[in-house]
Amino acid sequence: MKVLVTVKEVVTVGDEFEISGTEIAEQYREYDLNEWDDYAVEEAVQISESEDDVEVVTATIGPERSDETIRMALAKGADRALRIWDDDLEATETLDVGAKAEILGAVVEAEDPDLVLTGVQAEDDAFGGTGVALAERVGYEWAAVVNDLDLDADNGVASVRRELEGGVEELTDVELPAVLTIQTGINEPRYASLRGIRQAQAKDLDVKTLSDLDVDSSAADSALDVTEMYVPETESDVELIEGGASETAGRLAEVLREKGVAE
């Protein structure tokens, strides 16, 4: 059995940042494995640990810099990795859902996995659609926002729970092959061990261009253009309580007492 995990290296932003054009200014960017994808990797590795003969492959669309993030996924237990990048992708500012589904669709066709796992959404652009669009593109079944997975590989069925709004879960059976988008909290992602990190250095990390995958370079053209980025203005009438800890706690206690707390 083969499990493909599509992962993304995301830009993370701290409390202080500036915007340059339609992007976060370079000096404020940090890069990390997308949090949702971390849970997807963990889920795949757990499947490989509980079943025999499972290969876990990761696929990423990203520049050379993302090798570091991919190595972390390998260190956590993925068997090998693919990274897709070329000049056309380099020249593109935004890759929308349709573009990613087309590129990853070619990966699915080449790898022919039984199960594809990916995060519900990326922390940075928050499109939240790539997994499900990918499933449709390659003719796989799918389930979005999965927070529990019980795999019956012999019968080709994944029994999942989908996390709906308002504390309700939907129990659904999905035929394999399928793409599942994984919600945070489904498992407890491991930290990479030193041994895992060492082993990851020896694992295959293949870099492929769009033409290697027989994907037309037009796949890098997105329908969606980000034309402006700004910090949204907010209207707030918060009463800020300022001062040292004892002073602010004292004032807060007053507010709480006025409202009848602990009286």
Binding site: V11, T12, V13, T22, I24, V97, G98, A101, D124, A126, F127, G128, G129, G131, V132, A133, E136, E141, W142, A143, A144, V145, S159, R161, L164, E165, G166, G167, V168, E170, L171, T172, D173, V174, T181, T184, G185, A223, L224, V226, T227, E228, M229, Y230, V231, E235, S236, D237, V238, E239, I241, A245, T248, A249, L252, A253, V255, K259, G260, A262
Partner: protein, 320 residues
């Protein structure tokens, strides 16, 4: 191609609010194209749903009586068929958990550009400009897309008001053939999470904790505070994901919606999914080290400070 097609959402016999928000957003778009607003409802008691969806500004309600609950294989087939019949300029869908389970597939199937999670929409001729948030709502972006050959858009819930007034729509049962062999997923049922634990929706005073607590052992500090104040403890998503508190304690879109007299948010930044669950609290008090945290936009009282310094002092205030 000037019409707008939207799709209602229902669960366990009830239309969800987002359905009526979609009517508002859909009417705005139809006003700018000069076209009609069509709303489809698929599965469940479609006739009762259709009557309820017949609200101000709706031109046509299309019913597809197939199944009881949402199933993405049925929805994608049915909506693709209705899309061909209506030929709308904009296919307008909800960015809900179920929306995430069919909208991207539908856009892919129909070959439409996909614009997810819009909080504002402006359609000018063939150009659609959508405002979206990125980086956990730290920034907003405007996104332009050529909608000349159609576009699929999903809207964030609770961004548009619901449409209330009665309408004069034509209600039609749509003739849609569902290929059962292409239905390869089965919804077996639903389950409420957190049964048997304290019901946080009943609490008057909630002390709610977020990522700022850093480590599980630090939760004791918040438990002390809750005990001292006679409050119930709740939490934002990361605390639940880490397994530090049971699922029934989660406040937010995927957790519980709470409306206590006082909501004391400690170390919670206030992501939109969390805010969806607590914005109805009468008084919101926030303690957070980040002065730019979105929770302060919503709070009545705010302390910009370290919870590990403020909370022990606060406990002391009430122990005296």
């Amino acid at each position: 191609m000037t019409d707008i097609l939207t799709v209602a959402e229902h669960r366990r016999g009830e239309l969800r609010d987002v359905s009526f928000e979609l009517l508002t957003a859909g009417r705005e778009l139809a006003d700018s194209t000069g076209g009609d607003l069509h709303v489809a409802v698929i599965g469940g008691d479609v006739d009762a749903f259709a009557d309820d969806l017949n609200r101000e500004g709706v031109d046509r309600v299309l019913t597809v009586g197939e199944g009881e609950e949402f199933n993405h294989d049925v929805y994608t087939q049915a909506i693709a068929a209705l899309y061909d019949e209506v030929a709308p300029q904009v296919l307008l869908l909800p960015n809900t958990v179920n929306g995430l389970d069919y909208a991207p597939a539908l856009a892919e199937r129909l070959g439409l550009p996909y614009v997810p999670d819009a909080v504002e929409l402006d359609l000018d001729g063939d150009e659609l400009v959508a405002t979206r948030e990125m980086y956990g709502s730290k920034v907003a972006t405007t996104n332009a897309v050529d909608a000349g050959d159609g576009v699929a858009v999903t809207v964030r819930d609770a961004e548009w008001p619901v449409t209330e007034g009665a309408g004069e729509a034509a209600i039609e049962s749509a003739d849609v053939d569902i290929d059962e062999s292409a239905v390869r997923s089965t919804v077996k049922g639903f389950e409420e999470v957190g049964a048997g634990d304290v019901d946080i929706t009943e609490a008057d005073l909630l002390v709610s904790i977020g990522r700022g607590i850093e480590e599980e052992e630090n939760l004791e500090l918040i438990e002390d505070l809750a005990d001292t104040l006679g409050a119930t403890m709740s939490a934002s998503r990361p605390i639940i994901d880490n397994g530090w508190l049971p699922k029934g304690r989660q406040v937010g879109q995927s957790g519980k919606v709470v409306t206590p007299d006082i909501y004391l948010a400690i170390g919670i930044s206030g992501a939109v999914q969390h805010v969806a669950g607590m914005k109805g609290a009468e008084t919101i008090i926030a303690v957070n080290t980040d002065p730019n945290a979105p929770i302060f936009d919503l709070a009545d009282y705010g302390i910009i400070g370290d919870l590990f310094e403020v909370v022990p002092e606060l406990i002391e205030e009430f122990e005296e």
